[in-house]
């Protein structure tokens, strides 16, 4: 598997001169499976440049939505394959236990319809279908997908993708320490832990500094310390902090990355096993698969637009 981050910002896009290195687009991660097919994790505004860069492919595109907050679906309307006749797109997302008869299609349709959008789902020329993701396991191509409900505001899933002997856990919006000191929780009581346990790579919410978190308690996101505690408890190979606060500039994120990296090592993590996600960040999980080596967390390229274009590789 190979990953590429197309958007790592949380809450709302944050473009501007202060966010050129980590990027301002909201959540979207491209996963290239071992057979060359593509999975997309979330459809924030980062999916727009991904859609422009994707080569035409007859195989279905699978989009796994963690939840339906706007920063995770806003880019759907501008995803080029949605407007390509013949493209087959399958969108997965959480069911709504409070209203089981409300389908995923109808809930996404609230956004993809008037007055919020100029087109309706039924007008899209592609072949798009919607599936409530079971909180269990299923297969997409060569990958096994597992979904589980996690602590956030509203129905929210985390995903685990396993392919070719490697595994990724993606839990971008998650507040497992809500109401209880995370380090004191037993494993069985920690939201999302089984999903992440032993994964080679975990992309996890690290929106706030520890100092900021008390002012945002219950908003559904984690402070850096909880992201680290969660990752170490899950014994993941590497941790990539995700869902950056829109108020955090590149310089602030650099400081968080440095502090997080030091804390990761202090907690027993391998040096180099922690990074903050940035647009253009590419991670090759196939490299070193045979010996279980930790993937290299390449930093994002320095904002050259061309670097964000898909070039046949990640």
């Amino acid at each position: 598997m190979r990953l590429r981050v197309w958007g790592a910002r949380g809450s709302i896009p944050a473009p501007g001169p202060e966010t050129t290195r980590y990027g301002g687009n909201t959540s979207c991660v491209q996963v290239e499976l071992s057979d060359g097919s593509t999975l997309v994790l979330d459809a924030g505004t980062g999916i727009r440049p991904l859609g422009l860069a994707l080569p035409r492919d007859d195989r279905p595109l699978h989009i796994l939505l963690t939840h339906l907050h706007l920063d995770h679906i806003q880019g759907l309307m501008f995803f080029a394959p949605m407007f390509r006749p013949g493209a087959e797109i399958v969108i997965y997302g959480p069911c709504d236990p409070g209203c089981p008869e409300s389908s995923l299609r109808s809930r996404i349709g609230r956004y993809l319809s008037a007055p919020l959008a100029p087109v309706e789902i039924r007008e899209l020329p592609c072949d798009v279908s919607f599936q409530e993701a079971e909180t269990t396991e299923w297969e997409i191509g060569p990958a096994r997908i597992r979904a589980a409900s996690v602590t956030h505001r509203g129905p929210t899933l985390g995903y685990r993708i396993s392919d070719g002997g490697r595994s990724i856990a993606y839990i971008p919006d998650h507040e497992p320490g809500l109401g209880t000191p995370l380090q004191e929780l037993e494993d069985e009581w920690m939201s999302g832990l089984e999903l992440a346990r032993g994964a080679d790579l975990l992309l996890h919410d690290a929106q706030y500094t520890d100092e900021e978190y008390p002012r945002h308690l219950g908003w559904g996101h984690s402070p850096m310390a909880d992201a680290l505690t969660f990752a170490r408890r899950a014994a993941v190979g590497s941790l990539v902090g995700f869902h950056h606060d829109p108020m955090h500039s590149d310089d602030q994120l650099d400081a968080m990355a440095a502090a997080g990296g030091a804390a990761w090592v202090a907690r027993g993590g391998e040096p180099g096993g922690f990074a903050l996600a940035g647009e253009g960040m590419a991670i090759d999980l196939a490299a070193g698969a045979a010996n279980g080596a930790r993937p290299s967390l390449r930093p994002a390229p320095a904002a050259a637009p061309d670097a964000l274009l898909f070039d046949g590789g990640l």
């Binding site: 069911c95 236990p97 089981p100 909180t135 597992r146 589980a148 409900s149 996690v150 602590t151 809500l178 109401g179 209880t180 494993d187 069985e188 009581w189 920690m190 939201s191 832990l193 089984e194 999903l195």
Partner: protein, 134 residues
């Protein structure tokens, strides 16, 4: 998935851990999955010291007890029957603290039902006298 509590119970535990009202969580199998600090003070044993308790152990240790002082089996409680029917329930019991005499409590219970069905119940309780006054 194995080894993980349903999210609905995890969220309920987070709430209970923040309450000063004595309260506990029962899982779908009837095990006392968690009780908070206030409940632990009232019962004389902290959750951190006991961990989860099977229903049978809970009832023989803490009650509730009938008028003869015999523990009432968990399955025979009206409250249990109501919860398994996905209905809230309220009742008055006699329980025993490990550090003191028998005492009366009133308990209100809410079933926890999520996408996967019945996951257990959230129970809050408070001490009262025999006439039901606090």
């Amino acid at each position: 998935m194995e080894g993980s509590r349903p999210l609905e119970l995890i969220l309920a535990r987070n709430l209970l851990a923040s309450l000063s009202t004595p309260s506990f969580l029962v899982d779908a199998a009837g095990e006392i999955a968690f009780y908070n600090e206030s409940a632990g003070r009232l019962l004389g044993r902290r959750y951190e010291d006991s961990g989860p308790l099977p229903a049978a152990e809970w009832t023989t240790t803490f009650g509730p007890f009938d008028d003869d002082g015999q523990p009432i089996p968990f399955d025979q409680l009206d409250l249990t029957q109501a919860l398994r029917g996905n209905r809230p329930a309220h009742d008055r019991f006699c329980v025993r603290s490990l550090e003191g005499p028998m005492r009366w409590i009133e308990a209100s219970a809410l079933p926890i039902v999520g996408a996967g069905g019945y996951h257990g119940a959230l129970v809050v309780f408070w001490p009262v006298d025999e006439d039901g006054e606090r």
